[in-house]
């Protein structure tokens, strides 16, 4: 019980500290803190319209984070997720532009194409890692640039708008391709995100696949000696994460922008890494943490609109909170370090 209280205390402490710093920050720029918080709340979750907006940005973030849970479990830093989102969006765009058909056909087709795109890009990073011994961070980063370059090329080249070659994006998709909405809520995108989180939760918790993946991530050598084909499991992790990233890209293209834009990934891949780290790799936590991020991000636009604050303030608040959460995690880790060091040293000695 005592232990539990302390754990809760450790979880709450950074939030309190961050809130305190946020208040100081707002005071420093002459913004009334309570009114500001109120504005952020109303501008993100407080009204139906805003809630719909926030949730639509939540979907790609939570999809990316869910995918990253899988690659992190396998001990992989899938920095290439940004590229996987972009390629997913590109393939979905290609289907949206080139394949005729009614909504009931074309929407699943774009989703499938997006997943395939993400899988291909994920597997590329995976093959580089597994067979080429290229660290997935560097391989992934390189592939990110290639993917973004490809998107820009397509937008100002083959897929340019009639008469103008502009980086503002392609022509809008035809209406059948747009993901359906009810009352402003993109219900299909939301359903996909919720299913993805639940699926990843059960995959990691209940299945032999998840267990083996964890073993591969925690100790590749032991896992290999236990007879697990570690290479295949790492590739599978890249493919699954790629598929979810590709879905995120598709949602960005067909539910949010309704076209392909150069910054189609929205940075949700990198943000997803942060979400997963803050969630300490626990699937159940990524949904609320991602929602909080997006609420702050969407809601803080009100601060610049209504109070005339610089639009950067939302980002600053986000950053402060993340830093405090990581700091609290770091302090906790340092306490455990003694123990872990002991384990490590024992190994060295024996």
């Amino acid at each position: 019980m005592n232990d539990r209280m302390r754990r809760i205390g450790l979880a709450v402490l950074p939030i309190v500290l961050a809130a305190a710093v946020a208040v100081l920050l707002l005071l420093a720029v002459d913004a009334p803190p309570l009114r500001s918080f109120n504005l952020v709340w109303n501008g993100s979750l407080g009204t139906t319209n805003k809630l719909a907006d926030t949730l639509l940005t939540w979907v790609p973030l939570v999809l990316a984070a869910a995918g990253l849970i899988i690659t992190f479990a396998a001990g992989l830093w899938n920095i290439g997720i940004e590229g996987q989102i972009v390629i997913g969006a590109i393939l979905a765009t290609w289907v949206a532009r080139e394949v005729p058909g009614e909504a009931y056909f074309i929407i699943p087709a774009t989703l499938l194409a997006g997943m395939i795109g993400g899988i291909i890009w994920g597997l590329l990073a995976g093959v580089l890692r597994v067979y080429g011994k290229v660290n997935e961070i560097f391989g992934g980063l390189g592939l990110d640039f290639v993917a973004t370059g490809l998107a820009v090329y397509l937008i100002i080249g083959p897929w340019q708008r009639a008469g103008v070659a502009s980086t503002s994006g392609t022509d809008l998709f035809r209406a059948e391709v747009w993901m359906p909405e009810v009352g402003g809520f993109s219900w299909l995108a939301l359903t996909i995100a919720v299913i993805a989180v639940i699926a990843v939760f059960f995959l990691m918790r209940g299945t032999a696949f998840g267990l083996k993946l964890k073993a591969v991530g925690a100790n590749n050598r032991s896992a290999f000696l236990l007879g697990i084909p570690t290479d295949r499991y790492m590739l599978a992790a890249f493919a699954l994460c790629g598929a979810l990233a590709g879905l995120a890209g598709t949602v960005q293209a067909t539910a949010f922008h309704h076209k392909l834009v150069p910054s189609i990934s929205g940075g949700y891949g990198f943000l997803g890494i942060l979400v997963v780290l803050l969630a300490a790799f626990r699937t159940a936590w990524i949904a609320p943490i991602a929602l909080f991020f997006m609420a702050l991000s969407v809601g803080s636009t009100q601060l610049s609109l209504r109070l005339g604050l610089d639009s950067a303030i939302g980002g600053v608040l986000q950053g402060v909170l993340v830093l405090f959460a990581l700091l609290a995690g770091g302090v906790q880790a340092k306490r455990h370090l003694g123990k872990r060091r002991v384990a490590g040293a024992t190994l060295v000695e024996s």
Binding site: A223, A345, T346, S350
Partner: protein
């Protein structure tokens, strides 16, 4: 001048790496520190060089008590450590490396210092060569020169002869003798009996974290062997040798890793036979074990299991053919930190179903914990178990039918009860026809349980012994690299 360590304790969790070590090293004599791997030599030297802080104990140099909290403190106190892998920065030039940590930016002064030291010891360096192009031996020379220039009065060398050529070894030894003769305190750490005998004037032997003896050299080698491995009381002759069909057959297998190459080795192991691999750590035993499990592909020669040629096949094929490998590092090469006992059993069982029945798995884990008397619960994580219980878990995870079991140090670090238990398990497997090949540094264990013993020295099987007709002295001699008629 003398260096004194008094009652040094250094514990890593349950492991008492140094358990009340007292050591006195006089200036002017070359002092050897001898012991098997894991005896606690390296820990002691890391305490002395400020790398680890001792749990308790006192270190004094020239009567002055030292507080060593970091390698920097040690250097300032005049204690220089030459690590097994010299601490050089490969892309930097010789002179840059020489200057590192010295606090001076004057290249002229540094160059003079280096030249002067080089002349004194017969080293030759080109100041502008990147250290990457130097041999390991030359890097050591550079490191020695650097430590001397920094004002080291004590020089510690941790297994310095690994990876250097014979002539470089000669030169290193000559340098060390000169330094000792000039009144420097030199501590030479090694597990190689011959080197200590060649080089040192005095030797301290460590075993299991304690000093077990100190003597002036030369003394008869048996005396050192006995100190290193303990009094050998193994009864010779044992029941149960096998006449079953051949399980494993090696023909002229040549193995190589970056550091060590073995000579062509041939070996046949029968069903229900136990083969012990003896020798100092790193003499080729591990290469042989890895080859027998498909982890290391032989450079030439062939490996067969029963009638089937397995040469060149991957670990998985061996695994599926009933070969089981348990390396020494239980938490690095066997168990997975962070996963529970239940999860380990699920993994070990192959877990072919997609969905795991966790309730059934926990029940099964509880039953196995009971059967193998593991001190832990189904939810205990692997790293929370003691060494003995980790070994019990590893044995409990073994599939029921194994043709060939390969083990490294089956009982290292275990108390007597656990060690006996482990061997009861292994002998039971043996009685059911499993062939066992194990490497060990414990001569008792080798003599007591093996049918045959292969003695490794510097990558070569120098002798194949019938364990029933061998005694500890003979084995000890052979391990030290001396042939006995």
């Amino acid at each position: 001048m003398a260096l004194e360590l008094v009652d040094i304790h250094k514990h890593f969790g349950r492991v008492r790496a140094n358990d009340g070590v007292t050591l006195r090293v006089e200036a002017g004599e070359l002092h050897g520190l001898l012991g098997e791997n894991g005896a606690g030599k390296s820990t002691l030297m890391k305490v002395l060089s400020g790398f680890h802080e001792a749990g308790s104990g006192e270190i004094s140099l020239d009567g002055e008590l030292l507080a060593l909290r970091s390698p920097r403190d040690a250097i300032e106190a005049g204690i220089g450590m030459l690590h097994q892998d010299p601490l050089v920065f490969l892309p930097f030039t010789v002179l840059d490396n020489f200057m590192l940590g010295s606090g001076t930016n004057d290249r002229g002064i540094a160059a003079e210092g280096l030249d002067e030291l080089s002349d004194r010891f017969g080293f030759s360096f080109d100041h502008d060569t990147p250290v990457r192009r130097l041999t390991v031996g030359e890097r050591q020379q550079l490191e020695i020169a650097r430590l001397l220039w920094l004002g080291a009065r004590v020089l510690i060398l941790d297994e310095p002869t690994t990876g250097i050529s014979a002539s470089q070894r000669e030169q290193l030894f000559a340098t060390l003798k000169t330094l000792a003769a000039e009144g420097m305190i030199v501590v030479f750490v090694s597990h190689k009996l011959e080197e200590i005998e060649d080089l040192c004037d005095r030797v301290t032997v460590m075993r299991l974290g304690k000093v077990v003896g100190e003597t002036r050299l030369p003394v008869p080698a048996e005396q050192l062997v006995e100190m290193m491995f303990g009094k050998i009381i193994a009864p010779t002759g044992r029941a149960g040798s096998s006449t079953g069909s051949t399980t494993l057959r090696l023909d002229d297998v040549v193995l190589g890793s970056g550091l060590l190459n073995t000579d062509a080795t041939s070996l046949g192991v029968s069903e229900g036979e136990i083969i012990g691999l003896a020798g100092l750590e790193g003499s080729g035993q591990r290469l042989l074990l890895e080859a027998c499990t498909g982890l290391l592909e032989p450079e030439s020669g062939s490996i067969a299991l029963g009638d089937k040629d397995m040469t060149g096949l991957a670990y998985r094929s061996y695994h599926e053919a009933g070969v089981h490998y348990l390396p020494a590092g239980r938490l690095e090469e066997g168990l997975v930190s962070g996963l529970t006992i239940t999860e380990h059993f699920v993994l070990a069982a192959g877990a072919s179903d997609f969905f795991v029945d966790w309730d059934a798995a926990a029940d099964r884990a509880a039953a196995l914990i009971e059967e193998f008397s593991i001190k832990g619960t189904p939810d205990s994580t692997a790293e929370s178990l003691s060494g003995g219980n980790q070994q019990r878990l590893l044995l409990a995870m073994m599939p029921p039918h194994i043709r060939l079991l390969l083990m490294e140090h089956p009982t290292r670090g275990l108390d007597i009860e656990s060690a006996d238990w482990v061997w009861t398990q292994l002998l039971e497997r043996r009685d059911h026809g499993t062939a066992v090949v194990f490497a060990s540094a414990d001569l008792d264990e080798l003599l007591l349980y093996s049918d045959r013993i292969l003695v490794f020295f510097a990558g070569r099987v120098i002798k194949e012994l019938d364990a029933r007709q061998t005694d500890g002295d003979q084995l000890g001699h052979l391990i030290g690299g001396r042939s006995v008629a």
